[in-house]
Amino acid sequence: MRISDLLEYSVVSADGARLGRVSDVRVIQDGPLLGGIQAAFRIDALVVGRGGLAERLGYIRGRVEGPWALRLLFSRLERRAQVVAVTDIAGWDEDTRTIRLIADAQRVRRTLEI
């Protein structure tokens, strides 16, 4: 699978609520050693939902600080993003490009923390 494939998937909670499409992937470099050189890049969570404009402009995850009005606007958009841990994935449907979660929509974390 490629990351471009993953970014086409929609995420559905256990109670059937559509949370949106995968818009980014959070990666932590803490996996097993690769060739004795460096730790593997483990995919920890999927960032789901959010308008694409904020992402394209870099106004997400605190990467761009100003102008303050735009930062305020896009920070609000950012709060709509949801983070889904990979361990919360119940199953993949390749035909419909859907990821089903173990948890229902209320239990999915709503904050983007780094």
Partner: protein, 141 residues
């Protein structure tokens, strides 16, 4: 839930990896990160980024031109063989362990000649430009 105690470096793939400039072991520019390969462990469910993908067709695939991208990748694979003097890997696929420093640019432990990034230019130089009388350049191969 994600692992809150994880101590490794945290990256966001589309922000920190995709479209980043690549440099080879000699510091030469050698393309951009067009896509990333993900491998999923069926037993544990864990997923890892296992390779950087770049070269002809890869970006087309990512942009939604799946068939065109596959065709370009396959055509390039048929024209340019995998280097035999190097640890075998496909020319469009760079194992992630060969990626050193990741920042504004990503430094790779490979030579640009072993990558597919400039294959089209290389082919044109070898098969067309070098045969034109009076050309000042010589083909690499």
């Amino acid at each position: 839930m994600s692992n809150p105690t994880a101590t490794g470096r945290v990256l966001h793939a589309t922000l920190d990896l995709l479209d980043r400039q690549l440099r080879d072991r000699n510091g030469k520019l050698c393309g951009n990160v067009d896509d990333l390969e993900i491998t999923r462990d069926e037993e544990t469910g864990q997923m890892f980024i296992t390779a950087i993908l770049c070269g002809p067709g890869v970006l087309a695939y990512r942009m939604g031109r799946r068939r065109l991208g596959r065709w370009l990748e396959e055509a390039n694979r048929r024209v340019h063989d995998t280097p035999t003097h190097h640890e075998p890997f496909e020319r469009t696929r760079i194992p992630i362990e060969l990626a050193g420093q990741i920042g504004p640019t990503i430094e790779l432990a490979v030579d640009v000649d072993d990558m597919a990034t400039h294959d089209t230019e290389r082919w044109t130089l070898t098969h067309i430009i070098s045969h034109i009388p009076g050309n000042a350049s010589r083909a690499h191969q």
